[in-house]
Amino acid sequence: MARNAWRLLTGLWAAGLLHSAAAATVAAGVDAVAPPTPPAIANHRCLRCHADPLDKEVVQPDGSRKNIYMDPQVFEHSVHGKVACNGCHSDVTKLPHKKPLARSIGCIECHRQQRDRLKDNPDPRKRERLDVVVQQTDNYLHSAHARPNPKDQSRVNAACHDCHDAHNIGKPGELQRKEHRLKNPEVCGRCHEKQKKDYLASTHGKAIVDKKDEKSAVCSDCHTTHSIGSPKGDPAKLAITQNCGSCHDNARKTYLASYHGQVNRLGYTNTAKCFDCHGGHDVKDAKDPTSAVHVNNRLENCKNCHKEATDSFLQFQPHGDPDNKEKYPWLYVAKRFMQALIFAVMAFFWVHVLLWLFREVMDRIQGKGFIEDLNQPDVVFFRRFPPVWRWIHFLFAISTMALILTGTTLLFSHTGWAKAVVVFLGGTRMEGIVHRSAAVIWLSIFLFHLLIAITSIWKKRKTFEWFGGTSMLPNWKDLSDLRDMFKWFLGRGPRPQFCHWTYWQKFDYWAPFWGAAVIGSSGIMLFAPEKTAAILPGWVFNVATLVHAEEALLAAIFLNSVHFFNVHFRPERFPMSTTIFTGAIPMEEFKHDHRMEYERLLASGELDKHLVRRPSRRFDLVASFITSVLIIAGLTLLTLVLYGIGTAN
């Protein structure tokens, strides 16, 4: 047993050595170590053999023929035209040279040396291009091409000279660049034969080959020139998707606004990417019957991911643009409606907040208004919320914040914070689970509260005043209160007196009904696309995605700014009110905020039933802690959301 273990260890050690040796060999193959600079040999001497148009080939020892010809005129006009041949072919230290000649061309080290030589040059333009070249060589060293070839570990998958014709490299904008670009599929196709075949049949390939249209995409446009990774890896998939957008900018924009694109922009590849739908190398125009996105093939395409996709999926617009009125009128209308709603609500309530703040500050300066006497704190409290409502609010707040956090990471997938949050949560799949779990909690609470409210009203149905002071239903007094509040804000009247619920509290209460209807229904549609498409047309996904996001934004901004001000931040309450967690409001504060309710209860003799003792110190601390945490979390979310809106392009 011990002997076997020893053999195993020895074997592992030997394997490690072999691996190190192989890695070292490969590194040498990619010229990680600079070869010593040989004495320069005049180029015309090399050209005697290598520029002979009548003798372009030599027979190698293995019998194969090798082209050794180099057009001297082409070379002279290349960026390397002034470089000695053996400056790159550094194995040649004398003529005649050894044959076959080892490929010891030190592209990487030579460019680094040239760049370092110009490091201190006061003219940055002299090294700008070399900086780019060195960056590209660094990218190359980390690419799949610089890894050992699986069939021959002594060489890399592709070295510089496999792709670059070093004798014919032009400066940016020169003719050689255009030629090299048009040759790109041919160069890559030397190794990637199947991909080349597919590419040549594609729209991109035909434009390059038939029309010589250099603007059409070549291999390096999608796969990058030097940072080439395995196409199976996420970085390559993300880079390719990103690179499609370099030319197809509008498609990129609309893709990134979709759920598919949002996940992709967060750095994950588990949703559809450009090439998943359009095809990769064999991408063709949608009108081409062989195109993957042709109307006859599209459903099959969708079914690659959505196994139970129905015909309705064909009505979904993956690149639906809500700003394109002609093409997507329903999406255009939905966006304008949601934007108008957000603008109207936020404009009204932010003005309300600012005026309220102004008035309370002015009153305080003048020594008026409700000022809590800290030397004689209230010992009698009014019980405003039973435990069930407190729990409901607590869970509602937690689930709402979880929904905002996980939902806005998609909406603002361009931000660093969104990416960090998704990584923290464990990826977009986990984020989806958290989001949907929070949605279930949110909706369950909403329905549970509805059940309690209806039951409660049913029990009091004979005496319940539907539009009375204790009802949440809006009434005419709310309108007059609103009017009087504005008068008070502007110093033109007294502060109105409220009953059990104020108009802003009613708005806070009823807003989730609208939210539940809009966000809930659209969320369910997006959660179960196949089932939704079984009964609804596919374009509802476009509308659902839009309204889900816009309504969520409205809620996120409203709750964490207006609601926070109304409840916690207005000077009378600052820094916070813990009533929603203690269930009790100080008597003096109750009298101030709900004077009519106080007087009604006093007159009816019911007030005593609602009076409780001041919450214990421990309970008060717990409530303060929870409130503080939620306020901080809410303000953080607000900041993140506003940052996301401000940085969206």
Binding site: K94, L95, P96, K99
Partner: protein, 189 residues
């Protein structure tokens, strides 16, 4: 069985020895001009022992098929079969290259070196001892022979199929031809 195998092996060895003897006999016919082992002692007659097999084979076949001009060699090799040419080329290629350094004046050597470095070095090496894979060694080769060969390359009337050699020879100045030949002829190594 073992005896039969031994007999077969001996028969094979003796056949190989006979073939080797045949080539040596044939090679002796070359000794008259090119010396024993291909080491010439004549001023205008080149040493051929130790030259590349491919070079020797090509040049003899070029003479045989009138692709290359010569005064006598084209007539001699016409009497050889292609197989004999191949065998002779292999035989002489296996011989040791023995330079025959011929002294020359220092100024002539300097002039020769300059011409060589400009026109000959890329294929034959600076001393002629380190040639390209298909080029012959010419260090210590007989200078008169080399001068005559260069003149043939320079003269358009002679059929000399090696284009690069022809171009290099024609690029040389007339005065450099004997100097280059004497320079190479003076080289020992």
């Amino acid at each position: 069985m073992t005896k039969n195998l031994l007999a077969l092996a001996l028969l094979g060895l003796s056949a190989a020895a006979a073939a080797r003897d045949d080539i040596e006999v044939l090679a002796r016919t070359c000794n008259g001009c090119h010396g024993v082992g291909g080491v010439s002692v004549g001023l205008s007659m080149p040493s051929i022992g130790g030259l590349p097999q491919k070079y020797l084979k090509n040049i003899m076949k070029q003479w045989k098929y009138d692709e290359r001009s010569a005064i006598t060699m084209n007539r001699i090799v016409k009497g050889l079969s292609d197989d004999e040419i191949d065998a002779l080329a292999a035989y002489f290629a296996k011989q040791r290259w023995v330079p025959s350094p011929q002294p020359a004046a220092a100024d002539l050597l300097a002039k020769g070196r300059s011409a060589v470095s400009e026109n000959c070095e890329d294929c034959h090496g600076i001393t002629g001892s380190d040639p390209d894979v298909d080029a012959p060694r010419i260090n210590g080769q007989w200078a008169k022979y080399m001068e005559l060969e260069l003149l043939k390359y320079r003269d358009g009337k002679f059929k000399m199929p090696h284009r690069k050699m022809k171009k290099s020879a024609q690029d040389m100045k007339s005065a450099d031809v004997p100097a280059a030949a004497r320079y190479f002829g003076a080289q020992d190594k």
